[in-house]
């Protein structure tokens, strides 16, 4: 995974709260393989007018080239679909700034190298106004600072996620280094909680 250290880029204001993952990517697009790219599906229905043409006034269409998204509270609430992050990342976003995030979305974002940066509601409003007026932002993960909209703002992010993003770490490799502990746990657990175990079905596959 690509590390995230510091990013200076154009930003896009999205002055909406509760932007759920159904908005970020409508369910009907999620059967496609990731290799085809998910960028075109980002906020697919919100970006378009009733006839299907792109709405030139919608922020995403009015701020081409943006890599940072600023939104209101509870961004990414709803379903666990990681495709919501694929759509953001494939569109070009590497960071979303909001007063709060859906837990599963935030975790999915970090697993794809996208930074969910949490700020106070009033700070989000400041940033929305600044980037709406065309300000470019610098998001500095090492210093946990956002610069470019008046005095530098401090954002919060889970310290473990911060380390993971700064280094571009992948969880699976880390976990596999604990393989012995996992095997030992499983053996002890099978003896301690026989009722919690399931047996493989003959032949696997169809039950």
């Amino acid at each position: 995974m690509q590390p995230f250290v510091e990013l200076t880029a154009p930003a896009c204001p999205l002055p909406l709260s509760n932007v759920d993952t159904d908005q970020l990517i409508p369910a009907r697009f999620m059967s496609r393989p990731r290799a085809e790219g998910y960028g075109d599906f980002l906020l697919h229905d919100l970006r378009r007018e009733a006839g299907g043409a792109l709405d030139p006034d919608f922020p995403l269409n009015a701020h081409p080239g943006a890599k940072i998204l600023v939104a209101r509270r509870n961004f990414g609430c709803g379903s666990s679909r990681e495709a919501a992050v694929y759509a953001l990342a494939d569109f070009g976003f590497a960071c979303v700034i909001a007063p709060s995030f859906g837990d599963i979305f935030a975790s999915n974002a970090v697993n794809n190298g996208v930074l969910p940066a949490t700020v106070e509601e009033a700070e989000a409003e400041t940033l929305l106004a600044a980037v709406g007026a065309g300000a470019e932002l610098t998001v500095d993960l090492a210093a946990q600072e956002i610069r470019g909209a008046g005095p530098a703002l401090r954002f919060t992010v889970d310290p473990v996620w911060r380390t993971k993003l700064l280094n571009g770490w992948d969880d699976v490799d880390l976990t596999l280094s604990h393989a012995e502990a996992i095997a030992a746990f499983a053996t002890a657990d099978a003896a301690a909680r026989p009722w919690a175990q399931l047996r493989a079905e003959r032949g696997g596959g169809s039950a």
Binding site: S80, G102, I104, I182, W195
Partner: protein, 469 residues
């Protein structure tokens, strides 16, 4: 003497493989459900040339994309058929048991899991679906995860997590007649907001929760994610043990007795501390419906659409304006004056046998004024309902009775409402376009959906039932 612990902490502590200094714990996962949407995770395994680490703890179910009007994939939309077949291939390649499209036990993962006895008290359970919180009804830690995490669990049977904060939601007193778990959940979400429980594991407690059947508890825990909660749980008791006993994949005989001993020790200790406590007066809860585009936009049925001009907070006022505009409503409009175009009874939230019985009780001997779809939560629920004659009540009322799947809750299988159509729905999300591009969703209990079907508008089920009383 150990310090008093919550239900959540007792289960969490039992599943820690490794604690890291930075606060992350590697947790053992007891049950992992995969569905058609898990194809991204299986693709990640293929990229690494990896195998499923513990296939016996992984359970495949076709539910998100399955057609409900035919079980013949040859007659289904080719893209949808491809999703179902991809799941069949992925599970077969990895030796994972599958409850496929034509399995008589097929159903929505969160209905079928408890039904088959995969869900037990004291477990950790995950699935690439945010409504996995449903299984917490048995006193289990159950939560939704993304595709990267699904791949991680497939490869390691573990997951890195930070211990969330603990929140207790106490429903004091008893529910009034006709009030259900759905009304409790919507009332709670409206109270704390759609991100009110973010970062917290919720334990639902209090007299009204203890009085719920397992079906009711499943509905309540199902909606935990709509308050932003990491998971939702109810302490296991005799009601839960009785439900589990005799299920195909539940422990039997002596193993069951040993399990009950372990489960009986799970409820939170009397002195256990919670980071946050919310108290709700259960007796004051009315039939509740949503008016907007977030589950937090919920009000008692005798309420009126809010006026954004009277909302002081600018961003909340903007949300209300957006919602009212999308939903085609007017500030101050009485909810009972809102006409509906169709109804849907189904989903992991409200498609269990008790839900179908509640809706049928309203529809019996009545005609629906609008079209609608009834999709049972599983094929076993479907068979049970047909044995009880509920299917005939629905069809005689003019509603369509179809097979089981996620159907119109998420619209992936093609069961959708038309743009601008207003649907009274027993589902979990009233997000814009969730039931189809431009569709408008009002969430409510099965009995309230049945009442809306009869009235052709949002209606108080107590008035409709009162007419014949």
């Amino acid at each position: 003497m150990t310090a008093p612990r919550t239900l959540f902490d007792k289960i969490w502590d039992r599943h820690v493989v490794h604690d890291r200094e930075d606060g992350q714990s590697l947790l053992w996962i007891d049950r992992h459900f995969v569905h058609e949407g898990s194809h991204h995770a299986f693709a990640k395994l293929r990229e690494r040339g990896a195998r499923v680490s513990r296939p016996e703890l992984t359970i495949g179910i076709a539910d998100h994309y399955v057609p409900t009007r035919t079980r013949d994939l040859g007659r289904a939309d080719p893209q949808i058929a491809d999703m179902v077949r991809r799941l069949e291939r992925n599970t077969a390649d990895q030796g994972v048991r599958l409850f496929g499209l034509n399995d008589p036990r097929q159903g929505i993962v969160h209905v079928m899991g408890p039904e088959q006895g995969f869900t037990l008290p004291g477990l950790t359970m995950v699935c690439g679906d945010s409504h996995t919180s449903t299984h917490g009804a048995f006193g289990t830690i159950a939560f939704g995860i993304g595709a990267s995490e699904v791949a991680h669990v497939l490869m390691t049977q573990t997951l890195w997590q930070r211990r969330p904060k603990r929140m207790r939601v106490r429903f004091d007193g008893r529910l009034a007649p006709g009030i259900t778990a759905k009304d409790m959940a919507l009332a709670f979400i409206a109270t704390v907001g759609a991100d009110g429980a973010r970062g917290h594991a919720i334990e639902y407690a209090g007299e009204a929760v203890r009085g719920l059947s397992m079906e009711g508890r499943l509905t309540l825990c199902n909606l935990s994610i709509e308050s932003g909660g990491r998971c939702g749980m109810v302490a296991p008791d005799e009601t839960a043990f009785a439900f589990v006993k005799g299920r195909p994949y539940a422990p039997a005989g002596e193993a069951f007795d040993r399990a009950v001993e372990a489960w009986a020790a799970l409820p939170s200790d009397a002195e256990a501390a919670f980071d946050r406590e919310v108290v709700i007066d259960a007796a004051a809860i009315a039939p509740t419906v949503t008016w907007g585009v977030s589950p937090e936009d919920a009000l008692p049925i005798d309420g009126t659409v809010p006026d954004p001009a009277r909302i002081a907070d600018a961003s909340r006022a903007a949300h209300a304006r957006e919602a009212i505009d999308y939903m085609g409503l007017r500030p101050g409009q009485r909810l009972t004056d809102v006409a509906v175009d169709r109804v849907f009874i189904g989903s992991c939230t409200n498609a269990r046998i008790e839900d179908l019985r509640a809706a049928a009780a309203v529809l019996k001997g009545r005609r629906a004024a609008v079209p609608g779809l009834v999709s049972p939560g599983s094929m076993i629920v479907k068979a049970q309902a047909e044995q009880e004659g509920l299917d005939r009540i629905f069809t005689e009322a003019g509603l369509e009775w179809v097979a089981s799947g996620c159907s119109m809750c998420v619209g992936m299988n093609g069961d959708i409402a038309a743009p601008g159509e207003r649907c009274a729905s027993t589902t979990n999300r009233n997000f814009k376009g969730r039931q189809g591009p431009g569709a408008r969703t009002h969430l409510m209990s099965p009995a309230m959906v049945a009442a809306a079907a009869v009235a052709g508008r949002l209606a108080d089920v107590r008035e409709i039932l009162g007419e014949t009383a």
